[in-house]
């Protein structure tokens, strides 16, 4: 199946907001989300002439976004090696400095969600492992089918189901008290 060519402006009009929202939920941080979304969109625009419509455009762009994000996470982990070097090694005196090794998880952007439930959902999402987080976001927030999620993440549908099932159990533990309110 070969789809009709999509112009850049048409592509951006329909997909920029999808990419940004996926990036926002993956990173939990508006600043990082914008960087990630722009990287993903630049990659997608470069690859757009080669898009042949084997999947839907949204699935294709989700896949690019998730891959860009995975690369960033890997890259962050590499940089994490640096964070493990204590400041005292360089200065010989770190009493006045804050510890320079921090948890790799991104800080919650308090401005992202204005209500308590929204903030708790975002926090719970960030506490999931990255693969499960991507599955949950694509299913629950972006409303993608198992088949589309499998295509976007390049995993079998069975893996989508199992990750989703595990992630929901984890989310239930964290969010149950808010559901009953």
């Amino acid at each position: 199946m070969v789809s009709k060519p999509v112009s850049e402006s048409e592509f951006l009009e329909g997909n920029a907001v999808l990419v940004y929202n996926l990036a926002l939920r993956l990173t939990g941080n508006a600043s990082d989300a914008e960087d990630l979304a722009q990287d993903a969109l630049i990659r997608a625009l470069k690859a757009l002439p080669g898009f042949r419509g084997e999947s839907s455009l949204s699935t294709w762009v989700y896949r690019i976004t998730v891959n860009t994000w995975k690369n960033r996470v890997r890259s962050e982990k590499r940089r994490g090696l640096w964070k493990m070097v204590p400041l005292s090694l360089f200065s010989g005196d770190d009493e006045d400095e804050e510890p320079n090794f921090k948890d790799d998880s991104k800080p919650l952007d308090t401005g992202l969600e204005t209500d308590e439930k929204g903030a708790m959902v975002q926090k719970a999402l960030l506490e999931l492992d990255p693969e499960s987080r991507a599955v949950v976001i694509l299913r629950e927030i972006e409303g993608q089918s198992y088949q589309e999620i499998a295509a976007a993440l390049d995993i079998p549908e069975g893996t989508v189901k199992s990750r989703l099932s595990r992630a929901r159990e984890a989310l239930k533990e964290k969010l149950q008290k808010y559901v009953t309110q």
Binding site: S31, E34, N71, V85, E97, N100, V121, Q122, I141, V179
Partner: protein, 459 residues
């Protein structure tokens, strides 16, 4: 369908991914089993709650920033082939290579700490500090105790810490006399802090070009700070006591003024060495590209980028002039004159933007063509809908705020025989309004003219 099978299928049932026959069986079980119904309702509630966060709109200026990045040819984050190795080279070889590089860099930094060299940007700070005694040797002989400062700056830079950390460590280096040190070294420490902060910005610059320009900016700033420090020290009589405080801090006798200037001179680097150091830092900065990780840092970089843009496009300069006496009774506020009809005039002079993002004067800009208008809107990511202008008979006057915490209100436009005066107020933003990354602005369509246009700031 029994409970076990239902639980196994629950996720698919919830997502309507079960095929028809199984779905009917699951529905039948759900109506008959209260335990499974409870489980289903819990998960359904979680699912609805997560879905409830919904989508957010794109941030203001997102598309413009995307376009700018595309035009700048900025490459996305490194791809999976991080080491750019040809196919066939195993990953462990890449890992070994990276380990060697890391080891080399760490050793290099450690060596810098043990033997502070003045041939780097740290040398700028040291030079600033020791320049005061060189010019006023009797005043602050012990101010030449700069090596700890140099060390501190290196350590801050090496570990990626903040500029304030450098200042704190610098105070500590003074030996527990922070008050005296504050008075004596305020300017120099400020310069050092600034240098450290600016240096980190260099490290955070998104591309090599801007990093190199940042170093140029730093050089200019350092020279200015150096001059200010020396002038201040020469005039300030209190520095003598401060010099004593510093001598106490170093544990040296107070009555050793003769040796001190020589020490200061000995540590002064020549301009050639300083320039060589800056060149070395340019090379270093190319290797230390760290993407901005916080909104604050991004804003700072945006400001820096705007300043560099203004520097490179300095064909146009705004000029401050005194208001002509004939302007009107009781009107003696500052007047910023706009040179008339210059091509490419749509560039406010942001060279005056200081590190806090403030301008000393509000620039007014005249737009005489759609190209200029588009450039200005693009350059400053102006989101206001552009007005309809007939450039044959009209032009556009734009006024920018002097600070991120103020806004502009154009109150009137007064044409006269020999000029047009655009009068405006600059008002503080409400307390709850967020500071703007881009200066606030307002524009007004005015009749096309070759007369000079004045921008008048009303009290």
């Amino acid at each position: 369908m029994d409970c076990r099978t239902f639980r196994e299928r629950l996720t698919e049932f919830l997502d309507r991914e079960l095929a028809a026959p199984e779905r009917s069986q699951a529905e039948a079980h759900l109506s008959a089993c209260s335990g499974c119904r409870s489980e289903y309702e819990e998960l359904h509630g979680i699912s609805k709650m997560v879905a409830g966060v919904g989508r957010k709109p794109l941030p203001v200026g997102f598309m413009q920033r995307l376009e700018r990045r595309r035009q700048a040819g900025e490459s996305p984050a490194p791809s999976r082939n991080f080491f750019l190795l040809p196919p066939g080279i195993p990953r462990y070889a890449a890992f070994a290579l990276s380990s060697l590089i890391v080891m080399f860099v760490v050793m290099d930094k450690a060596r810098n700490m043990l033997q502070p060299e003045l041939g780097t940007i740290s040398g700028v700070a040291s030079n600033m500090a020791v320049d005061a005694p060189r010019r006023a040797p009797a005043a602050a002989p012990k101010f030449a105790a700069a090596p700890p400062a140099s060390d501190t700056l290196s350590s801050v830079r090496g570990a990626g810490g903040g500029g304030s950390g450098g200042f704190a460590a610098l105070k500590k280096a003074a030996g527990g006399q922070p008050n005296d040190f504050d008075r004596a070294g305020q300017s120099a420490a400020g310069s050092l802090d600034e240098a450290a902060s600016r240096n980190l910005e260099v490290a955070g610059a998104r591309d090599n070009k801007s990093a190199v320009e940042s170093v140029d900016f730093l050089k200019q700033k350092a020279e200015l700070q150096q001059r200010l420090v020396s002038e201040k020290e020469a005039k300030d009589a209190s520095v003598t006591s401060t010099g004593k405080a510093l001598a106490r801090a170093k544990g040296e006798p107070l009555d050793a003024p003769a040796a001190a200037p020589a020490e200061g001179k000995a540590k002064v680097t020549s301009n050639e060495e300083l320039i060589a150091g800056i060149e070395a830092e340019k090379k270093r900065s190319k290797m230390r590209i760290i993407p901005p990780s916080s909104r604050e840092e991004r804003t700072r970089l945006a400001m820096l980028s705007a300043m560099q843009g203004a520097n490179s496009a300095s064909a146009f300069q705004l000029r401050a002039q005194v208001a002509p006496a004939s302007l009107g009774p009781g009107q003696t506020p500052m007047i910023i004159a706009q040179e008339p009809a210059k091509v490419g005039s749509a560039v406010p002079d942001l060279e005056r933007l200081d590190k806090n993002g403030k301008l000393d004067e509000a620039p007014g800009v005249l737009i005489r063509s759609e190209t200029e208008r588009r450039d200005l809107w693009h350059k400053y990511e102006m989101t206001a809908a552009p007005p309809k202008i007939d450039y044959a008979s009209q032009m556009l006057a734009v006024v920018f705020a002097t600070s991120p915490s103020t806004s502009i209100q154009i109150s009137r436009v007064t044409p006269s025989e020999d000029r047009i005066v655009v009068s405006y107020h600059e008002l503080p933003l409400a307390n709850d309004a967020k500071a703007l990354a881009v200066p606030s602005y307002q524009f007004r369509v005015i009749p096309k003219t070759e007369k000079p246009v004045y921008f008048e700031k009303l009290p």
